[in-house]
Assembly symmetry: C2
Homo-oligomer: 220 residues x 2
């Protein structure tokens, strides 16, 4: 195996594990109960999108939402990782968008169907450049924000998370073994809303990273 560079995890990482409803204010805005355990769902690596390429609205959705989230990049894999050692398994972070076809998700929820079409379509996981671990000394106190066409839509702090990053790593790794290059999306603060063709999404963590993505329609 050639040496893999974790700062380009999206090229070879195998998993994107997402946590839903991890900020109480966001759970409330979607009329969801505060979860007792983390709500987990999956995207696949074909959902990754890096700056320069557009977010594409799936043909089957009329209500594509932005969810700005802190992503945790796994550096060292493991199973049943303890909370106390969880941070040793982190290589770094990425600012991420969990693009969500809300109309489809609502339909799936009401029918008891899996969320795949709502969450895992191509371009559903735009990401920033890799953020080395040292650049975020306290991942439990990171302010993330998202503007759409220069209007602030989401701003929150990871201190508002219901389940902390070490808890999530430990919880997930009991069920699904983690591997180097895996990404965990840690949930979104309130303020999710629909995007339209030609919108410009600009997001950041002050003094750490910023990213910009355009929205386009899936051609065909």
């Amino acid at each position: 195996m050639t040496t893999r560079n974790v700062s380009r995890f999206w090229e070879w990482g195998k998993k994107i594990i997402c946590v839903g409803r991890n900020y109480a204010d966001h759970a409330k805005e979607l009329m969801n109960a505060i979860p007792k355990d983390p709500v987990l769902f999956l995207k696949t690596p074909s959902a990754y999108l890096t700056e320069g390429s557009p977010i594409l609205i799936p043909k089957y959705s009329n209500n594509l939402h932005h969810e700005i989230e802190l992503g945790v990049v796994i550096g060292k894999g493991g199973t049943s990782i303890s909370q106390s050692s969880a941070m040793d398994h982190v290589a770094g972070y990425a600012l991420c968008l969990d693009m969500t076809a809300r109309d489809i998700q609502d339909d799936c929820k009401s029918k008891g169907l899996p969320w795949t079409l709502a969450k895992a379509f191509d371009t559903s996981c735009p990401i920033s450049e890799f953020i080395p671990k040292e650049k975020i000394p306290d991942p439990g106190n990171v302010k993330i924000w998202l503007k759409v066409n220069d209007q602030m839509r989401q701003h929150g702090c990871t201190s508002e998370m219901i389940f902390s990053i070490p808890f999530l790593i430990s919880y997930i790794s009991e069920i699904i073994s983690l591997e180097e290059g895996d990404l965990i999306l840690t949930g979104t603060p309130k303020g999710v809303s629909a995007v339209q063709v030609h919108d410009e999404l600009h997001a950041g963590i002050d003094d750490v990273v910023s990213m910009t993505f355009k929205v386009d329609k899936l051609k065909q």
Copy 2:
């Protein structure tokens, strides 16, 4: 990149895309409607299990079910693949088990939650050896069977599928780009039932492949 061997797709493939309710008799036995579109859900590659290692019952489930399925291994990736060219993208097949925590899945369905805990836990995707494409000249007419402790539990034919393999490849690739090494699980015929610790699952496609897995409890 070193050359990857598709006959060991489970070591480096990035996606497992599963189709639910693709056999009418199975949809009926779980009291589900016959779907108008394929029902898609995801496992992650950490779910792969090859012969010699046991299927582990998750600690949170008291009703782990077997679902025997034909898996399609992608050889050539693509987006929006046409049905007429779909078979050109197939490298081969694997006989697969979609192990399902049915109690958890029922709970997720009733609460509108994603199926991750029911479907994507470690060891939830036992697979046979790789079956080269030439060994299955007509994938639309393959008999698959599963015995538990020498009792026949499932036997079906891919001719009973609601959505054919070329249709599934085309449908999925419109939403989620396919890549070399990806696996598509094509659904299970009727006869799903619970497994217990020490059960032996023996499955096959006559004259093509067979596989055996023991069931164990997750230790801890």
